[in-house]
C-alpha cells in the first residue's frame, strides 16, 4: 500500500468523526465546527514542540573536532593548512607541508 494512503486514513477518519458530530443536533455540541481548527493548531504545536525539543537536545561533538585536528597534525603536519579559509593558499600550503612531512 502506498504510504500516502496510510497517511490519509488518519485525516479521513478524523473528518468522518467530525462530520458525524456536526450532523448531530447543533445545540448538543455547539462548538463542533471549531474542531478542525483545534486539530490544525495542535498539529502545529506538535511540530514546533518536536523541533524545539530536538534543538535543545541536539547532540554536538566539539571533542571530535579536536581529536580530528590532533590526528591530522600528528599524521601529516596538516594542522594549519586544513583549516585555512583561502582556497588557493589552502592548496599551496598543504602541498608544501605534505612534501615536507613524513607522508605515505
Amino acid at each position: 500500500m502506498k504510504h500516502i494512503v496510510k497517511i490519509m486514513t488518519l485525516p479521513l477518519a478524523i473528518s468522518a468523526f467530525w462530520i458525524g458530530l456536526a450532523s448531530i443536533n447543533r445545540s448538543t455540541y455547539p462548538y463542533t465546527w471549531l474542531l478542525p481548527i483545534y486539530f490544525i493548531v495542535s498539529l502545529g504545536c506538535y511540530g514546533l514542540l518536536m523541533v524545539g525539543v530536538g534543538l535543545m537536545q541536539f547532540p554536538t561533538c566539539p571533542q571530535e573536532a579536536l581529536l580530528l585536528r590532533q590526528v591530522l597534525h600528528r599524521s601529516f603536519c596538516l594542522d594549519d593548512c586544513y583549516w585555512l579559509p583561502f582556497s588557493n593558499f589552502f592548496s599551496f600550503s598543504c602541498f608544501y607541508k605534505l612534501s615536507t612531512c613524513s607522508f605515505v
Binding site: 523541533v51 534543538l55 541536539f58 547532540p59 561533538c61 580530528l68 579559509p85
Partner: protein
C-alpha cells in the same frame, strides 16, 4: 569465522579532495586492520590532482586494495555509487564521504553491528546517544531538526538519520535499491533509506559523529530546502 569470509568494498566518491583522500585512505587502513576490504575511489575528473594522489597511494597499499575508477566529469553522486558498485568485488559495500566528515574509526562498529544482527543495511546516525555534529550554526541545526520532524511525521522511515551518507549495505541490497532511486543531491540518501525500509530490508543504526568542514561547502540555502520538500512529497506519493 564469518568475519574472514566477508569482503568490504568501500566506495568513496571524490571531487577535488587531493588532501582528504590521502588522509581518509590512511585512516581506513589504520582502523580496519584485520578485515578484508578494498577502497574504490570514484573521481569525477578532479582538476586538483586527486587521481595522482590516489595513484601514489596505490603504489603504497597495492592496486588491489586501492582501486581508482575515474569518470571524465562530474556526473552526480548516485551514478558515482553505481559506477563504484560495478567494480566492487566484496559482498558488502560501504559508502562514505571523502571530506573527513565521516571518520573511518566508525567502520569497525558498522561491521560489528552487521555481524551481530545480520542486517541488510547499517546506517550511521548523528542523532542518538554517542553520535553528534560539530560545525553547524543554529540556523543549520534548526533546518535539520525541522526537516527531520517533517520526514518522521510523514514518511515513518524507521531510522533517525535520513540524510546521512555513511552506510554499510549488503551488495545485493544496494544493487536492488539503487536501481529504483531517481532523486539527486540532498534527497538521494533519504530516498535510498526510505525505499529500503519500504522493501522490508532489515536496517540497523550505529552512532557516528559528523565533523563538518570549518571552511567547507556545507551550505544549506533556500533552494536546497525547496528541493528537500519536493523530495519529501515525491517519496510520500511514490513509496
Amino acid at each position: 569465522m564469518e568475519k574472514e569470509k566477508n569482503k568490504y568494498s568501500i566506495i568513496v566518491p571524490t571531487y577535488n579532495e587531493h588532501i582528504n583522500i590521502a588522509l581518509i585512505i590512511y585512516l581506513i587502513f589504520k582502523h580496519l586492520q584485520d578485515v578484508d576490504f578494498e577502497i574504490i575511489v570514484v573521481d569525477d575528473g578532479s582538476p586538483d590532482g586527486t587521481q595522482d594522489v590516489v595513484k601514489q597511494l596505490q603504489q603504497v597499499y597495492g592496486e588491489d586494495r586501492v582501486l581508482l575508477r575515474p569518470r571524465p566529469k562530474k556526473l552526480g553522486l548516485g551514478t558515482a555509487y553505481i559506477h563504484g558498485l560495478k567494480h566492487a568485488s566484496g559482498n558488502f559495500v560501504v559508502i562514505m564521504d571523502a571530506d573527513l566528515s565521516h571518520h573511518p574509526k566508525y567502520l569497525p562498529s558498522f561491521i560489528k553491528k552487521q555481524l551481530e544482527t545480520g542486517a541488510s543495511i547499517v546506517t550511521g546516525t548523528r542523532y542518538v546517544k554517542g553520535g553528534g555534529v560539530h560545525g553547524w550554526n543554529l540556523m543549520r541545526k534548526l533546518t535539520s531538526r525541522g526537516a527531520n520532524v517533517l520526514a518522521q511525521t510523514f514518511l515513518w522511515p524507521g531510522v533517525s538519520d535520513l540524510t546521512g551518507s555513511f552506510r554499510l549495505y549488503k551488495k545485493s541490497v544496494l544493487e536492488d535499491i539503487i536501481s529504483s532511486v531517481v532523486s539527486k543531491g540532498y534527497v538521494f540518501q533519504m530516498e535510498m533509506i526510505v525505499r529500503a525500509s519500504r522493501k522490508g530490508y532489515h536496517i540497523e543504526e550505529v552512532p557516528i559523529t559528523f565533523v563538518d568542514r570549518v571552511y567547507g561547502s556545507s551550505k544549506l540555502g533556500g533552494s536546497e530546502i525547496v528541493e528537500y520538500l519536493k523530495g519529501l512529497a515525491y517519496l510520500l506519493v511514490t513509496t
